[in-house]
């Protein structure tokens, strides 16, 4: 069966199964979170922008890590995935505007720590990560084998 490729844009998530590859391009301070069940080869990937939902009214709550991770888990459960089988991978959280003038915002670091915290709350182990740094990333998550490939141009 031919592999299909779907792009997961900023503030979006997708739940899919083998033989699909999920792709997120131009990941800067955002964080990409993948969840994968090796047994069923069902997984999900989110391209989250911010750690927590605030009081600000938003049209898209999936851009928040604390909303999108439980949402993905819920949908995976509905597809019959046992959450005990899930492993997670993380990519992103870069501090793009760095150098001698330290960017006041620490959103990249905040995204990494919050994603780790929520995954810990759900007892989902983090199997691999490519986080931090000052370069953007393109991410490809292959649901046939659970490999998350990272390309970073510098």
């Amino acid at each position: 069966m031919a592999e299909e490729i779907y792009e997961v844009g900023m503030g979006e998530y997708m739940v899919a199964n083998d033989p699909i590859t999920l792709v997120s391009k131009g990941v800067g301070s955002c964080i990409v979170i993948s969840l994968y069940d090796r047994t069923s080869k069902i997984g999900a990937m989110a391209h989250a922008m911010l750690p927590k939902k605030t009081s600000l009214k938003s049209n898209n709550e999936c851009k928040y890590i604390d909303i999108v991770i439980p949402k993905m888990i819920d949908e995976l459960r509905k597809l019959g995935v046992d959450t005990k089988n899930l492993i997670a991978k993380l990519a992103g959280g870069a501090n793009m505007f760095n150098g001698e003038n330290q960017f006041a915002s620490s959103i990249g670091d905040d995204n990494i720590s919050h994603a780790v915290e929520i995954l810990n709350d759900f007892d989902i182990p983090i199997d691999g990560e490519s986080v931090g740094g000052t370069s953007g990333r393109n991410v490809e998550f292959n649901l046939t084998n659970g490999i998350m490939a990272i390309v970073s141009k510098i």
Binding site: K63, T134, N138
Partner: protein, 203 residues
């Protein structure tokens, strides 16, 4: 999709007109600095979801992006984007190096590009503050050397902390006698864009 902004086409037109004056002043400052004439092309402002503009404006190619945060009576940001080849050409002009001699941007070259961004943004904002008689504070310039889409996505994230949408002004600046160009993107959150329109109307 729900639009939270109450800006209409006429409002955006007013902001466009004001932006023309600001960008002309900004490019004149760079013209003095480089000793070259500059050509400025201004595209119509667009109101867009913060998630969308990095997708629309950001290629998956290496660029130097200089970003300044704007605070004071209005809040937002201003980004100056230099493709790698343009950054090298501009650095050669500013550092009086032979054309084609720079293959990589060294520390001095990076500093020249950051300063170019700072001058363009600073003069743009100075004219804006002067015309509207408002108080505008700009941050120090920050620079990213990475793919443009990842740099712009980071700016999207910063903007999305305050609003779902931003008004994006887009202009190209070309240095004559050289193929060097820069792109300037200006972002206001919607509350600031509406505030700007109110001030412009009252003038």
């Amino acid at each position: 999709m729900h639009k939270e902004s109450s800006l209409n086409e006429k409002d955006i037109g007013l902001i466009n007109e004001m932006s023309k004056k600001c960008s002309t002043d900004a490019s004149q400052a760079l013209s003095v600095m480089t000793g070259r004439e500059l050509e400025v092309t201004i595209f119509d402002a667009q109101n867009m979801d913060t998630e969308q503009f990095s997708k629309q404006h950001g290629a998956d190619e290496i660029a130097f992006t200089v970003y300044l945060e704007i605070n004071g009576d209005i809040s937002g940001g201003i980004a100056l984007i230099f493709e790698q080849s343009s950054a090298l050409k501009i650095a050669e002009i500013l550092l009086n190096r032979e054309e084609g001699s720079m293959k990589l941007l060294d520390d001095l070259g990076r500093s020249a590009i950051k300063e170019t961004g700072n001058i363009l943004a600073g003069n743009y904002l100075a004219t804006l503050a002067d015309i509207l008689d408002i108080h505008v504070l700009e941050s120090v310039p920050y620079m990213a050397q990475s793919t443009l889409n990842s740099a712009l996505s980071t700016i999207s994230v910063e903007m999305s902390k305050n609003a779902d949408e931003a008004l994006v002004l887009n202009m190209d600046i070309a240095i004559s006698g050289s193929r060097a160009t820069a792109q300037m993107l200006m972002f206001y959150d919607n509350a600031s864009a509406e505030k700007l329109v109110k001030i412009i109307r009252s003038k």
